[in-house]
Symmetry: C2
Subunit: 444 residues, 2 copies
Amino acid sequence: MSVDVVVIGAGSAGASACFAARKQDRKANIVCINKEPYPTYSRCALPFVIGGEIDSFKTTTVFEASFFEKQNIELLLDTEIISVNIKEQYVQTSERKIEFKSLVIATGGKGRLPDIPGIENEGVFVLRTRDHGDAILKRSAKGKKAIINGASFIALEVAEALKHRGMDVSCVIRSRALRSMVDNQFSIMIEEKLEENGITVLKGAPVTEITGDGTVSHVIVNGEQIPADMVIISTGTEPDVCLARDMGLDIGQTGGIKVNEQLETSASNIFAAGDCVESQCFIRKQPFISGLGTIAARQGMVAGANAAGAKLSSPLVLNASIMKLFDIEIGAVGLTEDIAKNAGFDIAVGGVKYPDKPHYYPGGKDVYVRLLAHKEDGRIIGAQVIAKEGVAARVNMLSLAIQNRMTARELQMADFCYSPPCSDTWAPEAIAATGLAKRLERKK
Amino acid sequence: MSVDVVVIGAGSAGASACFAARKQDRKANIVCINKEPYPTYSRCALPFVIGGEIDSFKTTTVFEASFFEKQNIELLLDTEIISVNIKEQYVQTSERKIEFKSLVIATGGKGRLPDIPGIENEGVFVLRTRDHGDAILKRSAKGKKAIINGASFIALEVAEALKHRGMDVSCVIRSRALRSMVDNQFSIMIEEKLEENGITVLKGAPVTEITGDGTVSHVIVNGEQIPADMVIISTGTEPDVCLARDMGLDIGQTGGIKVNEQLETSASNIFAAGDCVESQCFIRKQPFISGLGTIAARQGMVAGANAAGAKLSSPLVLNASIMKLFDIEIGAVGLTEDIAKNAGFDIAVGGVKYPDKPHYYPGGKDVYVRLLAHKEDGRIIGAQVIAKEGVAARVNMLSLAIQNRMTARELQMADFCYSPPCSDTWAPEAIAATGLAKRLERKK
């Protein structure tokens, strides 16, 4: 049997690719092959099942198998791919040979495991799949002490989740919290928030060894032995390119599959999307690994439509992201100071703490905003926000400011709304932009 | 004594003009003349003093007299202007003759009173100043029945405020609630919200007469007599151009003072800003009356700086606005359907009700979004949002989308953030944009 579009993976990118292919071509034969036994679920929701906010792993389902069926997409679950033959255009699974006209690779990412002694002990986890989540949740009921190695947002979410489950939680943070997303000043606030909520923050060194007789009993951090009933390794994810590499597709220096603007790989009619590909940074115009579900969904749409005959371009990526940590939300978009400086940009930074309501109206809560701009042209290239609530829309707004190449002065003068119970005459973002614009002009 | 900059008015525009003039020229002599006996306060906050959320009218002060003093700006309160001599460049107050080099007129707006019998009765109010607010609050303690004539956002805020004070409140709405800000579907939701909170909505006719023997006792609506202890007239504001007219400055067809891009009036070195001027609509490229404090503040900055020697341009106006009504927030930016159609635009509309969190995370609240786009090029020209909270940042985001001339498809694919406790993979605005983009493409 020959099908029109085969999609490998039913995660955010894979599922989006399937539905976009269907929209593009109502009659196409579409097959989706998924390694996991579950239809599309939200990976980002897994920490909240561990923490108890979401009642079960099944609840994280985003698209049921029946939804694929309704769209007339054949969904093969729990199915391993043995090989893909590019020349003869077929996928070989353990059960079937499926010939295709075009292919979308959406094999996602995988947790990066550090090469340290004892990593193979029972009780050491990464969190990437429902099964991982399930194992972590079960383990949390058996032990008391959890060590989180890393300070990515998944690491911090799991730290909070295990704290909610009553564990003693320590975060081992080599450099600083959420480093890839926020600047140092915000990292400090985040680390303080962890400690304020009873999580121990161990800074300056990673876990260098895990000890135990088959089951973890301690970790070694900075030469010190720390008791541990479980260890979560969350030192970053990497693109899962095993299959792509076997197929002989070009892999970029970032470790992700190389794709062009239409998300086509080095082989024609073979597309790739999501955590397994290189994204193009909007600001640096360089490839990087996004790792976000939102980007995966957007790329999946483009790759799926193109696999079914469209010619869409995938937008450059700003990586707008957000997380909740106890009673605050942390959001960011564009470059951090570190990343901007590493990219050789000459930047200025503006930051404010400003209430979300005017001072004369009760109940205002502080919003922390940081903005980064190019010194040369004043254009904003990065933004970070911390507040108790409502950060998502603020980050989205700042994402549009960056995408539209607005300067700090333009953002200051933007037409923003005001009413005492809702927002001040000048929103916190406009206030931050004002300070930044002043700084930029002074430096000229 | 000759001063460099005289500013008439210490409201949002006037105060901003003073401080911007000071920033522009550290040594300029600046005098601010205010008719009211109070330094700068928030007019938008007045309904919330009446409602009890803010404890006193004094609390609504935005800039104290001492703040003017610190900036070395002479503030004359409770001071009437008798005349302005443009040729000889002086302002004559009841006490002094003040020669100026440049002048900023920020005389604001005034409540429009309908020409109906009985309007002069005691107990009939507009709400524009602190003294008005004070009089309304005092009156509310003496009577039981309040009639609100009009459905502007001030009308609705006062309706809620008087309800909080325990009055029986009826809104007399000739056409539909908040018509200048939102489309019919949202007006219906707003009217339902009023009724749900025990406010009587009388639709289809205005108050045509007020009866009483010196003090209001009834209003006549649609031939029917309705008891009233007080009446709030809120059928719109108009620019206060008495002084400008006396000075012989050009007044536009909208009734506002004509100004150029630098906010200079028809007389050189005389600038005007805020509710007394015509603003230029970003989308229609036509003059209109904005009436918003945010726009007044932005224009004041430009006029004040220019009066002190700068050459800034005032941005075109999108009129982003927001209000809170009981437990919902209502925001809008750009054109409504009515206004767009009246302007001769061929438009398409997309609307959704979509939760602010994904379905698998508990506690999501519905966000209602309406988007309007030009059929020809797909660019978004209007947006409206209703939700329980967080509407301000959503409106600001949509304001940037319009300002940057984004199409529905571009907004759909924008780089927005996601995390289960904060926002779904596709924000409500992106979902609305998706539907709108589809509709636009189908119509081609």
